[in-house]
Symmetry: D2
Subunit: 313 residues, 4 copies
């Protein structure tokens, strides 16, 4: 049933967590979506992760999620693997989405722990066992304790590695001690993929043995993140250094105009709207930046584009 | 469209957050559900709240949630108002569930803040404005910061009281300073209902001006909670005292056999299974108590039943 | 060396955590201190706890702490036991203060976990073992996780009960499940004293088997808290009820004028200043309420005094 | 009174937070202290910070703290500036320690917010104003919210920069967004020093405009951290890269043998004991690693020493 051949394992490089272009609460911005996918793939990324946190997955109706899966898989057309977030409080809905993703041609699904009432680690281990039995696609674990209240403990990750249908971990905890521990498990599964969430830690993560990053900023500047990753892997420290410093200038400007946890997504959507790629409508309870904030983002975008062009990326 | 006549406002007394009897991941325990509703209504409660935290609402498929709404409303048949939890990360799904509830004959819906990526208070105020415009039933706010990461701040509650379609607040924060502040807002809305979540605080809450409680233990011993509430309201301190002490013996035994946040629901379901009312299957990632824990709960149930009988409840 | 005869065990009733009257950063308000001690003892309390959180213990110089111990013990003159807070990040300083307290005639000392770098439970158990060996007075444990970052786990309390030199627990966690567990340990040490911190939980705590409370409000209205405690113990539910409701009116007014964790101490000191008992100077980094807040407190005090007089306390 | 000439400002490079060699609860390991200071200074560091978190400052008696200040200042003899931690819950004690430090020849003092009852930001601003008036030495702010419960907000830092007696900030929050904001304030005070706490972020911090690091690992491998810092400043990316990766191997081994917040200090002290530099006794409530853990650390030390030698540091 599962055809892991669709993903070359381990999956290395940049796998952007795609924002979801919306024109209304329950309507995709279709031309924007097409432009965004084309823009990201042009940057040389290794995969596309939809319906994650950055993709506002849990904030979208299931109907819209299915439509997004269909359209994205169709446009990507197998050029890179599409990973689909199925994190849900109800396992039945997670499985339903995974089946839809398999039919649409996605390569894998991604799941964080159920995030309303937090389970203990033994419960999460059992949950993963039940879940993979029902899944028609291989599974990436998604460690995101700030939003799910509970992590996948390292011991839970280690136990999950015994099941070949679980094929990797995306760690968005920001805790590099955890990441390092996860990297130390790699020898037991040569096909396992270990990706870092926070892009500010991409350089560290690759140095520590990780395979790449799920970097939100790659929605906007995909080539920059690909260049940073490749310089790290090639051991071109000077270049990696410059790309890292440039990446810090993105995150310390675009992501910090708002003050809430939603500031990163708002900043990215606003910048993508300014560059003419897609609409910046956000799913409730969030709303797009207003004029004042938009002007600040616009100034940042102009400056960042010039800096990145000067880097020859 | 909205017929608030179905709820006598303010709603006073005990409104149990009904557990959801399951026989499998996506199947109701139908005879158990019938027995449970009958058992609770026999206790003299003032309403029934389904699909809340205790009801494992977010852990159930939308199909099963709709079936539960239908069956519960049909069996209750208007004897007491049925309140339906619609808390969701996606507003479209919350509205869909509310429409189903309205068609089924529910009296009101109950919503906590979207609980994946937490919004700020201005965003929550705007969210509530958008939500009530789409709702066919009056709305209770549900303050549950431990699980939604963000509270409805008192100022947000105060602002929501300006809209007559929002008719009350269930506070499960356990923060009696917050509850007291909420009680101080009551003069501006004589029809507003203020209910307390944690049953250990019911006595305090009524003394502080609250209208009653959404007490999980009332699934098991509804008459005890009704008696406690009525003694408080009647000023029969001796009786209230004895009922309060008895209630503490329930929560300090049944709820403390497990060690995780799910221990309360597990304990309640296990006790209801022991008393022959319904199955104790739990939605993933949780599972029912195993033999050792079940034996402990069984001993507690026998003792508690004897104690409560001796109180003449 | 230890003369436990000074404390009748278990110690029952109200043991106010005395605020420390200051006239400057490092100077006691001496006439205020005399009036305050007299005022509290007149209320019928069972003991006096100095240099706790409410007493701003950690914020005072060691010189001033020693002076306060001396003056308090001298004025109390054995009428009730004086308990002295010795919580410290440095064990040498805690022991030094305990020796001073013993020489001054204190009855016991009170220690929370070292509160800078938090220890694990095995470390805390070992710490308690080392500490009691050096102490010339019996020890009360002080559970205050909000400020020490780490609790004394129930298992740590149970282990400490094996040492007769540890004679009780003051629980300020506000977690009634923890308190109930602590109460369940009482049969193994008939001389053990279990006291509750948050006064809003005094009634619950006595119902649950506790021996009394360390109630900050008893600085201001000692007789009210003594009456509440005695009504609970006498089983006079009607009276306990009225006292409890009155106590809630104190805490929901005096303690809520400020917005920070220091609001309780500020409110108490301000009210004591308004009633002419002592100065409201506070140790850094805190400062007394300013005019606007003082006027609010003054209005509360007038109203509360009338209400309490009407209760015949 | 203040002679800021003793510190060249801004202070750049590595300023190790020295561990405190103890042979008993209240006794310094004197030969160990001498060897440790010599070892650290040999590594080419820019200053020495004593009595911080790594130095177990709050866990030591004031007598021992004064002795440590005296001995350290005497041995250092002005070769590098000595910074003395005076963080305290009681301002009188903090000032007393600062006076002792000034007399002993220290160059500056370092203070985090009072850490028992946390103050609000306006209170902290006022506190800093009162504190600097009493200090005979310039002050570094120490941002350490995990242990003090409250940060110095960026706005509080900005306000403190208006006072020339406050000369820098050590940020141990680990929050690089905060650090970046602090770096953006540098243009308003060309003499201000901005140092990073967590050594894993040293490279990032220097790239972001910081002046250096207060790296615990520099107790053990001072030359490695100096080399990392200097490579960053020289723009020698290849070298910086290799040093950074090596530093990660230190922190991911030595610091992770224990499981509690004390694991870093325990690991450092144990490794320094294994290399024959000083005793690994720890102030209560902590204790040194036992045999099993010590063997693990010993193996790490051997491997790390070989790796670092191979780097030519």
């Amino acid at each position: 049933m599962i055809d892991p051949a669709m993903i070359q394992t381990p999956l290395t490089g940049i796998v952007p967590p795609m924002i979801t272009p919306l024109r209304d609460r329950d309507a995709l911005d279709l031309p924007g979506l097409e432009r965004l996918i084309a823009h990201i793939l042009d940057g040389g990324v290794s995969g596309l992760f939809i319906l994650g946190t950055t993709g506002e997955g849990p904030g979208l109706s299931y109907r819209l999620r299915r439509e997004l899966i269909d359209r994205t898989c169709r446009q990507v057309g197998g050029r890179v693997p599409v990973l689909v977030g199925i994190t849900d409080t109800a396992m039945v809905e997670a499985v339903g989405l995974a089946r839809h993703a398999a039919n649409a041609g996605a390569a894998a699904v991604v799941a964080a722990p159920p995030y309303y009432l937090p389970g203990g680690q033994p419960e999460l281990r059992e949950y993963l066992g039940h879940l993979v039995r029902e899944l028609p696609l291989p599974l990436f674990l998604y460690n995101m304790p700030a939003l799910t209240k509970v992590p996948f403990d390292i011991e839970t990750v280690r136990a999950a590695m015994d099941d070949s249908r679980v094929i990797g971990l995306k760690d968005s905890s920001g805790d590099m001690t955890y990441f390092q521990s996860a990297a130390e498990l790699l020898p037991q599964r040569p096909d396992w993929t270990l990706l870092i969430g926070p892009e500010e830690r991409l350089l560290d993560a690759v140095l520590a043995g990780g395979h790449g990053g799920v970097c939100g900023g790659a929605n906007l500047f995909p080539a920059l993140f690909v260049a940073l990753y490749e310089a790290c892997r090639a051991g071109d420290a000077n270049r990696a250094f410059r790309m890292h410093a440039q990446m810090l200038r993105v995150s310390s400007s675009i992501y910090r105009v708002g003050r809430h946890p939603s500031a990163v997504i708002k900043g990215l959507k606003c910048a993508l709207s300014i560059t003419g790629i897609c609409d910046d409508f956000m799913a409730e309870p969030f709303h797009r930046f207003r004029e004042g904030e938009r002007a600040v983002i616009a100034a940042h975008v102009v400056r960042l584009q010039a800096e990145i062009a000067a880097l020859g990326v």
